[in-house]
Amino acid sequence: MTAADVHEPRTGFRWSWVGYAVIAVAVVAIPLMNNAIELRQQSRLILALLAVLGVNMCIGYGGLISLGHGVFIGVGAFGTAYFVDDMSMPWPLAILGGTLVAGLAGCLIGLPALRIRGIHLALVTLGLAIVFRPLLKRIPAITGAGGDRSVEASFDAPSWFGDTRYANSLWQYCVVIAVCLLGLLLMRNIVDSRMGRAMRAVRDNDTAAAVYGVNLTQVKVLTFGISAAFAGAAGAVEVTMFPFVSQDNFEFTRSLNLYAAAVIGGLGSLWGAVLGTSALSLVPRLGNLLDNLDGLPLVGWFFALLRSDTFVFGTALVLLTFLAPGGLSRIRRVPSLAPVRAWFKRRYTLH
């Protein structure tokens, strides 16, 4: 087990309180600062937390490298759309159904993970992420012609909540916040449970874990399944806000962004998932700030890159591997160049 798994004695300043305060302020401030349409966009960004949690669990606690969790968001979204429209289920049941289907898909995809490990599993899941979009176009019965379908059933606020467009968005926002809190709570309990300990044991050394009586098959398949269900829930709830589900939204870059967010935030840490999701939603906004620098010759050329959020994510992924290997959530002080310096020292002194 790594040091991070052992509960460290709580000394010094409790950063988590700052975190709770920031989250509380943000949860209240976001609906006040946005109009109906913007609020819906914000809700969608926050909802990504569930998917990041899933990836975080799969890689950070389970040690299964997945580059394809965007696929399960898609399964959850299309599943929910199918249940609510074609089978005319009520929304809560349809969302639950979509989540379950994504979880089952995860268990299925998790089966190869019993034998395929590490970097090879990353390879298979990346392939899955790339093949997912064309695959969607092949099952029009569920995903609509060309992999696009609209959802007829609307998800409206109850009458006591109001019937303006803003009230509707606010209701959806509240649902998203509730679902995310529920997800966080559930994830905390899962990783602290017997199952969570088994997962970490398998991650660190699966042979040793098996010797201690951990059922490898069960743990690996469930790790993949549960994490996929989390991603699927994100997709399922998204359908309530955006009644048009399209294969366009499930480009492989979405999976890679999820992976980047989970790693940048900090694997194997729930705060990491929160931070990673924040990065996922804040980075595209930073790009807008850079617009002022346009028009400068070479500088503008470079800043054009910074406006691309995927570029920022990719670069951050590379840089953080060196500067903060545990992700943002494990930074205890200002990142230093100490690891780099230490490496140079190791390399260029006699030993």
């Binding site: 580059l67 970097i119 990353a122 064309p134 980047a260 570029f311 990719g314």
Partner: protein, 315 residues
Amino acid sequence: MDIELLLQRIFDALFNSAIYSSLALALVIIYRSTGLLNFAQGEMATFSAFVAFVLLSGEVPGLTGGEIAGLLPGVPWPIPLAVIGAVLFGMIAGAATERTLIRPLEGAPELAVVNVTIGLLIAVNAMSREWWGTSGRLFPALFPSDADDYLGIGGARLRFTTIGAWLTLLAIVFLLGLLLQRTKAGLAFRAISINRDSAELNGVRVGRTLMYGWALAAGMGAMAAVMSANAVLLDANMMLRVLVFSFAAATLGGLDSPLGAILGGVIIGLTQTLVPAYVPWIGFELSLLPPLVMMTIVLLVRPQGLLGTKRVERV
């Protein structure tokens, strides 16, 4: 079944096979010496192809003609020179990547290297996309590719570009063989592949040798990208499909076997063309599926691939 059509499809497939084999070979060179998969191999290659494009057209993103005139002498360059330029650029970039991003991670967990190569994949892809846009660009052919530049065999057309791609691949393999078997750097490379620690104790400069390996791999990738840019249009996502096909090829042949990479490339190229042609449900769009399924099955049933060496794991 129409034999002529089948033969034609096989000939068409052989072109793709050559591309996949080249990139798979690049992946194998790195895997063999370090046990790493370079997820950014394809994107680095695409970027090199864009460098060739700049040398050929003189069109630099974000800069007007006046600003660029002094920077690049004699643009537009002739195709062979531009390709050599791109391959050299790729090699330098590959070596620099190894030196600055991979070597410091010596002894770090596997995930760290995956992070760096995936980060590179995302970042380099975004770079190509931001600078050159997503619209495909025409890329000139390296070999004669007019309508009547083909060899008729049994009623089917074996195009000169296909022959050229295979000659290039064989030349690369031949040079690589010479390099590995006849030079000191090649000897060092083989020693590292067999036992890195012992090689280091015997005075082999591991870091430097691996850097050469990365340079070679990136150069091969650049060559594959330049050839494939002519066949499809040059755009930022061009090598992504190719990368997955090449991964499948390398896995199928055995990740540590150069010969396996070529065999895998041929098999994957044929599967990717023939299966969609005869199974309408799969079609061109899903042509990734059969190779992907094959790769998964190989990893499940025979992880060492067709020609690779079996690894025994110790606890």
